[in-house]
Amino acid sequence: MNAALLVLGLCPAIAMTDTVIHSVWISAGLLLVSVLSTLARRILRAVPTGDRGPADGPGLIAALCVSSVLTAGFEAGLLAVSPEASTSIGIYAPLIAVNVLAVGEPLPSGATPARSVVGAVGRGLGLGAALILIALVRETLGAGTITLFPVGAFKGTIVISALVDEPVRALGLAGGALLCLGYLAGVLQAIGGARQRAGAGGEKP
């Protein structure tokens, strides 16, 4: 896994988790592009697609091309569906292309196309859930609101009166995002570690 790609993936994670709705859109984009690009790479198997591992330069570029094309398609679609969302997401949409690589299939996997797609769906959902969780915490505490889709009479913003006047603005800033990200990662590590220990313990006779 290329370290540079991972760091690039942080950018939308920090910028787009300031409101819940933004992270929902970004997660949707990630999921869509991830699934479609996995499918595309499987279909275009003749093209070197970076499945030979992170050191495979040409393959990486090819994979980037695929996901860029798909991201452009997603952006166009978003513009059509919800222009306000498109403007507020703005520059961060193209970063989906790189993020997809960051969380994409790491190694040449011998899995069938179907399994790859399922894996992409899983990873996309997982990343999306993480982004939405961080956004929930950040927006609730950092701005005192929760922004969702307007549905019928609901304008789309839940206002938490206790917090909205003097929210914890530090969480709304980039540093606060890193803080939430760090703690979420810590929690996931702890759960993963506990699960591993439980698994290892269970295997012993």
């Binding site: 003097e166 929210p167 914890v168 603005r169 530090a170 969480l171 803080l179």
Partner: protein, 365 residues
């Protein structure tokens, strides 16, 4: 002769069997004790609201530490560090701050900065300074609500530093000393100060041809709205006791203040329009939290460099950072942010300045 004597109850232990008298626990409690004069003065000035702020910050710190140690069956309050953090947070905040400000500052400092990284000795940032920074960033307004001190001038209670800043932003560079500028902007100091300064000017300084500005005594003693622990003389008194007991080393605080003073004197005037050598270092050393930051946060052994060279370099850097933030930045005080930035420099300084041991001795067996 032997045999009939009872054998003493012996407890075998490992060498060495004697230890130096000063222990970590004692160091922390001495630091707490040394802050009592400044705390007492602050509480006398700001009364119940001040007590509430300090009480909440200490309580929040203790609770936060308990919450992260009791579930692991450890009890660490006896080492006094949580209390010290809570106390410093309380002293850094103004008495008018709403309750959630000190509570969140202390809790953040203990939970995030100290305990999340492993507890005492493992924090790479000063918990009190980081917590206060968190609070001032999150609630810029409420975290700087100050009330007039007992016996001070009534009316809008802005700390002198803030008032100076708004005067500068309203009227542009003033070109005079800070106290003169405040006077011109109509900032009111206490009547006690006025009469004392007038007396001193008339009887002691007129023959020499000098004169103190009004407000000099108030600022010197700390009788101004603002942070609760603002009395520089009392803080220095407490710190002198710590220095004497060798709880803290003198290099970092003194070099920090000295470099800030030098920079402030030399180049501070550039910001206020007075040109070189007109920066008003006296006023700036006594305003804001720089004295508290220098003696109680910069000197914290956990976040200080290990080598003497490192401490000198960090002291100069802290002074420079505080200077830049005060005069040229949009931060009010700059001390807390400078400390936090300096903490980030410490590991680098350690690496750069530590000597190279491990060179194999000649003729090694």
């Amino acid at each position: 002769m032997s045999g009939a004597q009872t054998s003493p109850a012996l407890h075998p232990q490992s060498a060495p069997h004697l230890r130096v008298g000063m222990s970590t626990r004692r160091m922390t409690w001495l630091a707490v004790a040394s802050l009592v004069p400044a705390l007492g003065f602050g509480l006398a000035l700001f009364g119940i609201p001040g007590l509430v702020v300090v009480g909440v910050s200490i309580g929040s710190a203790l609770l936060a530490e308990l919450a992260t140690t009791l579930p692991f069956r450890r009890f660490t309050l006896a080492d006094g560090s949580a209390l010290l953090t809570g106390l410093i947070v309380g002293l850094l905040l103004p008495a008018g701050a709403p309750v959630y400000v000190p509570a969140a500052a202390s809790a953040f400092g203990i939970l995030v900065i100290k305990q999340s990284f492993g507890g005492l000795g493992r924090n790479w940032m000063n918990p009190a300074m980081g917590g206060v920074l968190f609070a001032t960033v999150s609630w810029p307004g409420p975290a700087s609500w100050s009330i007039p001190p007992l016996g001070g001038a009534a009316g809008p209670a802005a700390p002198p530093l803030e008032a100076l800043r708004s005067a500068v932003s309203a009227a542009g560079p003033h070109g005079a000393t800070p106290l003169a500028a405040l006077d011109k902007a109509g900032y009111a100091f206490s009547s006690l100060d006025a009469s004392a300064i007038d007396w001193i000017n008339a009887h002691l300084l007129a023959p020499v041809g000098l004169a103190f500005n009004h407000g000099a005594l108030d600022v010197l003693v700390g009788h101004v709205p603002g942070a609760i622990g603002a009395s520089a003389p009392l803080l220095v008194l407490g710190a002198a006791y710590l220095l004497r007991r060798r709880v803290i080393r003198w290099q970092l605080p003194v070099i920090y203040l000295a470099s800030f003073a030098v920079l402030s004197l030399a180049a501070g005037g550039l910001a206020s329009g007075g040109g070189w050598l007109a920066g008003g270092p006296g006023f700036h050393l006594l305003s804001g939290n720089i004295v508290l930051a220098a003696f109680y946060a910069a000197s914290d052994p956990v976040t200080s460099p290990l080598t003497r060279t490192g401490r000198w370099v960090l002291g100069i850097s802290l002074g420079a950072l505080t200077f830049l933030m005060r005069y040229f930045g949009s931060w009010g005080d700059g001390a807390a942010a400078a400390i936090v930035l300096g903490n980030c420099l410490t590991p680098l300084l350690d690496q750069w300045t530590s000597h190279r041991p491990g060179a194999a001795p000649k003729g090694a067996a």
